[in-house]
Amino acid sequence: MRNPLRSEAEAFRFLLVVIVGAVIVVVCAYANEWLGVAAAVVVIAGIAWWLSHAPR
């Protein structure tokens, strides 16, 4: 499992992932309200998956 607070580099990487996720949600929400909700669910699930997989 990744720990975004383990080091500054991990926290910075997590920040970049969150920024990308937020941009995806905003773009989808502007296209369609429910698409934005779906995108938010997918992005949160994606981040959770990314956190649960440790780097090789």
Partner: protein, 211 residues
Amino acid sequence: MTTYTHVEGLPHDEHDHGGHEHHGPPEPHYSSRIAPSVLGMFLFIGSEIMLFGAFFTAYFFIRVVNGVPWPTPPYHLPVYVAFINTCILVTSSFTMHWALQSVKRGNPWGLRAGLLLTFLMGLTFLITQAREYSRVGFAPKDGAFATIFYCLTGLHGAHVFIGLSILLFMTIRAFRGHFSPEHHHGVEIGGIYWHFVDVMWIVVFTTVYVL
């Protein structure tokens, strides 16, 4: 399990095999298999999630369940200024990262410049936020929308203030030459906190200002 030292009059540890005298304070007793630092980090994350989660729950309840228009007419949120502020805060995370990479590579002036820039950008963010509060045209007492707006942005602002205080000490220590490629734990911890504050702002900005 007792962990007393081998001192006259005190009971011996059951694992204290004869011959080895232990001096100094007793060994810490861990009741969990999780390391204390990791446990502390999880507790910190948990407390922050609960704190911000409480305010976000109120936000979603007001906006989605109650169906209150966001922002409530005739008020407008300063989205453009908030976007510029977001760019400033995100850039400050890049300079923070640059500062830590510099100290790891033995570049003290890169560290100092990075920390100073991060501090100045964080200060700019906070001053701009305070300035916007005075110009936004509504107060926390002006309905649920205004209350939750000030609560969410104010809670984040408080975190930025704490981050700035940490950054100030880090910057002073950097200029005094307290950090080296081998010893820079103070910068690492401060950097983690600063990125965390940035992540929270991305979530607050996206939900409160943009969506």
